[in-house]
Subunit: 129 residues, 2 copies
DNA sequence: GAAAGTACCCACTTTGAAGTAAGGTACTGG
DNA sequence: CCAGTACCTTACTTCAAAGTGGGTACTTTC
């Protein structure tokens, strides 16, 4: 029996790859992958401190999504107080490398973008109120 | 007078780079940048056809955001019917190259992610109903 | 004995991103 | 003369993402 596995295409509206793309480009997903690439392994509260502004809820939720997708490995040691380590899987490292580059590019090119916005705004200023 | 230009850091909650990151990782922003990298130059309706499921509103809105950020160049020829070409600026090409790689990686690795999700779901199935 | 660290979960509310639908313009082809 | 093309804009609505504030269970430190 023939199981049809069409190649994924993000440009198709109902392609499952869209969901994965949403996960790895999500607001907190990008940042978590990037810091995990720098860190090898991190605890919950260290991640919370590393990613400015993330809430505990969103941290837990995003980590679960990435874990389910096989990008993040969760290792809990049943001690008191609880000790949980998060790290990237080999698969996760592939994605993290990409988004890491993207975040660095964003940081590097921000000044140019700010200039571009200023140019755009003066060019498109209201001509006559 | 000293104008302080701190280096941008996406891990800081109130860093302006967060906004730019949101733009280039937005649902439709990623896809538009990626198709524009493949195409050199594209018209509005061609983009609409290329990116499955995008509405005219979101297409116009996302293009405006990317244009304002200096990533996309809009060239309108005042003819009837209107003819508008969209292309990447050199700056835009840098970002597009990154997200292009990311979309290809997503497509390539989707099968592994699907497997990972199945493993996760059976492992974490409800233990006793 | 009170507070803080540790890693969460749950319920509730808010926000904003996105979808839907319609209108508008100035023409061309049937 | 009506439909269609091309490129939008505006108004209204919806829905999921995210924020808020609480609780847990146990230990160590002040």
């Amino acid at each position: 029996m023939q199981v049809s596995v069409l190649p994924a295409d993000v440009n198709l509206a109902n392609c499952p790859s869209r969901v994965l793309l949403d996960h790895v480009t999500s607001r907190w997903g990008v940042l978590l992958l990037a810091v995990l690439l720098d860190a090898e392994r991190m605890r919950f509260s260290a991640l919370r401190r590393a990613v400015g502004g993330i809430s505990e809820k969103m941290l837990a939720q995003t980590l679960q999504t990435l874990e389910r997708d096989g990008l993040v490995l969760r290792e809990a040691r049943p001690v008191i107080p609880p000790h949980v380590d998060y790290s990237l899987t080999p698969l996760g490292r592939e994605f993290a490398a990409q988004v890491w580059e993207l975040t660095r590019l964003v940081e590097r090119r921000l000044p140019r973008v700010v200039e571009a916005r200023e140019r755009y705004d003066t060019r498109n200023a209201e001509p006559s109120p």
